[in-house]
């Protein structure tokens, strides 16, 4: 281990981590949006769209992100959809995460007993009000552990962005190994930076899960 080298390349890793986080957050935001829309479509059984959503979920869940990214980044431009690597990374993560989020939200929505909805109805709440005040708050608490698990999963998946030549942490590490052949230092920093990104989220996830469990939300 060479401390001078580590000190020298630290800024490179910092930039890469910031880029990873930016793409990651936009991608996760997109997946929450897609997931919410898809789970609501399936919950309300919207005609035609339900089938389309089911097909999307199966394709997205049964293919690896790296292949999806290759298709989006190298395949789609041939039929006229051009995206730069940054946008493509976020869209790819959104495409993958959308289905995982949809499943998480759906299991929450479906766990709400029918009698609650009937009670809301008999109290004179509209469909929208029932969703806003009765279903959503409970479903949210129920699906939160799965949601956190998905966030961690998606943050981990950001490591494949280097496949579409986004200058992320993996790209930086591989580059430095290639240029300086300082393997130990490069890999050490790679692990440290991923721990910095993932450990707090993971700890937050298990903390929230414990709290939700203790207070018996929705149980």
């Amino acid at each position: 281990m060479n401390p001078d080298f580590i000190y020298k390349v630290l800024p490179l890793y910092k930039d890469a981590a910031v880029l990873t986080l930016q793409v990651g957050f936009i991608g996760i935001f997109l997946s929450v949006l897609i997931g919410l829309v898809c789970s609501l479509i399936r919950y309300y059984k919207v005609p035609f769209l339900t089938g389309a959503v089911a097909v999307y979920i199966e394709i997205s869940r049964n293919t690896p992100l790296i292949i999806q990214l290759f298709f989006f980044y190298y395949g789609l431009p041939k039929i006229g959809f051009k995206m730069n690597a940054f946008v493509c990374g976020a869209v790819g993560l959104g495409f993958l995460g959308g289905s995982y989020m949809a499943e998480a939200f759906r299991s929450g929505l479906e766990a709400i007993a029918k009698v609650q909805i009937e009670s809301a109805c008999s109290l004179g709440l509209s469909g929208l009000q029932t969703m806003r005040y009765i279903i959503f708050p409970q479903a949210f608490a129920l699906s939160f552990p799965a949601f956190m698990a998905n966030v961690i999963f998606l943050l981990k998946e950001t490591s494949v962005f280097s496949a579409i030549s986004l200058m992320d942490l993996m790209f930086t590490a591989k580059d430095l190994i290639g240029i300086y052949s300082k393997t130990a230092e490069s890999l050490f920093l790679l692990v440290v930076f991923y721990l910095i990104i993932l450990l707090p989220v993971s700890l937050l996830g298990s903390y929230v899960e414990r709290r939700l469990g203790r207070h018996g939300f929705g149980s």
């Binding site: 394709i59 690896p64 292949i67 298709f71 039929i79 490591s159 991923y194």
Partner: protein, 223 residues
């Protein structure tokens, strides 16, 4: 519009792509076959009442879990060369990493299944006069297996999806073959990238979809 699909039917391209997928499937199969017995062992050890053992296994599990699989691949592929002067092939490195990862995941599944067996099941078995071995063999084991089979089938699809990463450490698999085909046909069919990558996507889908369906079916049936 030219979708570049004709490239697939030229020469041996289709067979080469399938061969690439075969490589990925082979690595995931070997890794799964290693992880299942090791995972069962690890999961059983995680339930013992020895703090040192459980702490070490817990640390192993959490480290493997929190690191992206690609980072683990890099650590083994580039790290072993540096640390031991070994020149590990990409294939060997990926089998090692995926077995390591699969063992951790499988171990956690086994631990969950074992701890999910209620205490009264043991107590009732002892009350009926069963020995410890009989209790495990007739009561605990059958229930654990029922819970574990769907979950381990799911692990196979995750493994197949994860093996697509091995292209990043230079193993020749589907994506590499796809790149070669696209490159070779650049002038004849400039849109090959669309058709070929679409086909690769569908190939992975065709490999994973039936397996995850089977897992879902068994999970419902054996609940």
């Amino acid at each position: 519009m030219d979708l570049g699909l004709e490239v697939l039917f030229k020469g041996r391209n289709l067979i080469r792509l399938l061969g690439g997928l075969g490589m990925a499937l082979k690595i995931s199969l070997i890794a799964v076959l290693i992880s299942i017995p090791l995972g069962i062992l690890m999961g059983s050890f995680m339930t013992v009442k020895n703090r040192v053992v459980t702490l070490i296994l817990r640390f192993y599990l959490e480290f493997i879990r929190i690191m992206p699989q690609l980072v683990l691949l890099f650590l083994v592929f580039f790290g072993t060369t540096r640390a031991f002067g070994l020149n590990v092939s990409g294939e060997a490195a990926s089998i090692f990493v995926f077995a390591l990862w699969g063992t951790a995941e499988m171990g956690d599944l086994v631990r969950g299944a074992l701890q999910g067996i209620a205490a009264h099941q043991y107590e009732s078995a002892y009350a009926l006069g069963m020995t410890k071995a009989q209790t495990y063999f007739y009561i605990v084991f059958p229930q654990t297996v029922r819970r574990l089979i769907p979950l381990s089938i799911n692990l196979i699809t995750r493994m197949i999806k994860t093996t697509s990463l091995i292209v990043m450490i230079g193993v020749v698999e589907v994506l590499k073959v796809a790149q070669q085909i696209i490159e070779a046909n650049r002038t004849a069919s400039p849109n090959a990238a669309f058709g070929v990558y679409l086909f690769v996507l569908l190939m992975y889908f065709a490999a994973c979809f039936p397996i995850s369906r089977l897992a879902g079916y068994l999970e419902k049936k054996w609940r």
